[in-house]
């Protein structure tokens, strides 16, 4: 501190901040430089809508991966969002503050568990159960959806709790004073007032689900196929990049970068929607 002085510290911090931001910016620029030319060379429509992914034959249709990412994400949301929201309502409204203050950080800690661990549990515990109960290979779209559903729950719970707790006590008091029960207050008022935050938590969860790679590679089986049943093996966009990047060259490599561009755009859109929703604190019906 003494060495640099007030001004020096400030300058140092701004250099650090600036380099961090420019590094992120450079990554984005890099992905686009590597991926965009391919999109125009190969044709956006063929790239997105063809089901023919045979890099050795120069065929780069990522539709099966798009479908897989979409269905895995949707399944994860169907599992993770209701459970996460229910958990958030329970913790924010029906549990003493002291208990909530212990459980919430614990749940947030779940988000810090490396995804390879979730994948490991998926392979060892979940996939065999699915195979035994429903048949099929076990490593499947369903396994991916369940594991991702669990992985996004901390995000959904944590942001939903924050938005429920941000609803002023005066609203709740007003509702209770009109003879509402606690549960009526929650579903007629508090969740409505917290709607934007809850929606944001779901959208951020979607972003996580689409972006997740390692756990998905481990549990979905990775066949390049348009899924016709949740029990089939699928390969998501992220899994495809991770699995093939190490040996891809030429057009193949460019196609993977273009896949990255697609993911990048989808995630940016989801996150922008979420941040708009979060900023709009109280939604008025």
């Amino acid at each position: 501190m003494k060495l640099l002085g007030e001004k020096g510290v400030e300058r140092l911090l701004s250099v650090v901040a600036f380099s961090a931001i420019s590094a992120l910016g450079l990554i984005a620029v890099f992905i686009f430089i590597e991926g965009l030319p391919f999109l125009f060379k190969y044709g956006i429509k063929d790239f997105l809508l063809s089901s023919d992914w045979r890099p050795d034959a120069g065929k780069f249709g990522i539709y099966p991966m798009i479908a897989a990412s979409f269905w895995v994400m949707l399944g994860a949301m169907l599992i993770g969002a209701p459970l996460g929201i229910a958990g958030a309502i329970f913790l924010a409204e029906f549990v003493p503050k002291t208990v909530m203050n212990i459980i919430k950080p614990a749940i947030e800690l779940l988000a810090a568990i490396p995804s390879v661990i979730y994948g490991f549990i998926g392979v060892v515990v979940l996939a065999p159960v699915i195979r035994d109960l429903f048949g099929g290979p076990g490593l499947s779209l369903l396994a991916g959806a369940i594991i991702l559903g669990i992985m996004i729950m901390p995000t959904v719970i944590s942001i939903s709790i924050d938005s429920l707790l941000a609803v002023p006590v005066s609203f709740r008091e007003g509702s209770l004073a009109l003879g509402a029960t606690k549960w009526q207050t929650v579903h007629m008022l508090t969740t409505k007032a917290a709607k934007s935050g809850i929606v944001a938590s779901i959208i951020l969860g979607m972003g996580r689900a689409i972006g997740e790679t390692m756990a998905v590679i481990m549990v979905t089986g990775n066949s390049v196929m348009i899924p016709h049943s949740p029990l089939e093996s699928v390969r998501t966009l992220t899994a495809n990049i991770a699995l093939e990047m190490s040996y891809a060259i030429g057009m193949h490599r460019e196609a993977l970068f273009a896949t990255g561009v697609v993911l990048f755009i989808v995630i940016i859109i989801l996150n922008s929607i979420a941040s708009v929703a979060i900023r709009k604190k109280v939604i008025v019906k």
């Binding site: 002023p168 004073a177 003879g179 008022l189």
Partner: protein, 257 residues
Amino acid sequence: MEESKKVHDIIDIKNLDLYYGQFQALKSISMSIQHKMITALIGPSGCGKSTLLRSLNRMNDLIRGVRITGQVLLDGKDIYNSGMEITELRKTVGMVFQRPNPFPLSIYDNVVYGLRVAGVKSKSQLDEIMEWSLRSAWLWDQLKDKLHHPALQLPLDQQQRLCIARLLAVKPEVILMDEPCSALDPISTSKVEDLMHELKKDYTIVIVTHNMQQASRVSDYTAFYYIGNLIEYADTKKIFTAPGVKQTEDYISGRFG
């Protein structure tokens, strides 16, 4: 006081003690609230006015660590008896808060909130009571064309009267008001006070106020509280012209508080 009204108690408070943890906020309070009268609670900040008011519809139950002994009889029935339905109690004894707290919903949805809570579904019934409530709170003419606008966009005094309308919709017998005008300017305040006079025909009102002029303007009876004790409770006219206790006199003449 109108002679035609038969004076009787609607609420009887008997030896009420209230503790927040170790701290005793109300000390053996006994007083009765007269039917269809306006009773004002006055006293310096922190003397327990809000606490007493909130113990009349059991809003204090929401605060952890509150302990209450004694009785509050509503029409002869102890509201702290385990047989008391709290939701029913709160519909009978409604509350208007210090800061207007309309819900972040439309004006219409605010007014019918309590009805929906009570399970009323019929649109025509909701519409009818909604219009009646807004009329009773003198809001119908201003708001009838924007019933589906957000309530939070109304000016503060309309918000407060909307909170009153929302309450009237559930047909309470008693209305508790905790400094209902403290967030309002003088003109809006006098509108709310006029409204209180009108409501007195049909409802019993208990109002906490910081403002002694307000107490003397609107109330029939006044209770003076000081550090958790009820010091004096009498006709408003008597309290403000010939108080029986020295402390009351000091307070209303502005020597402390």
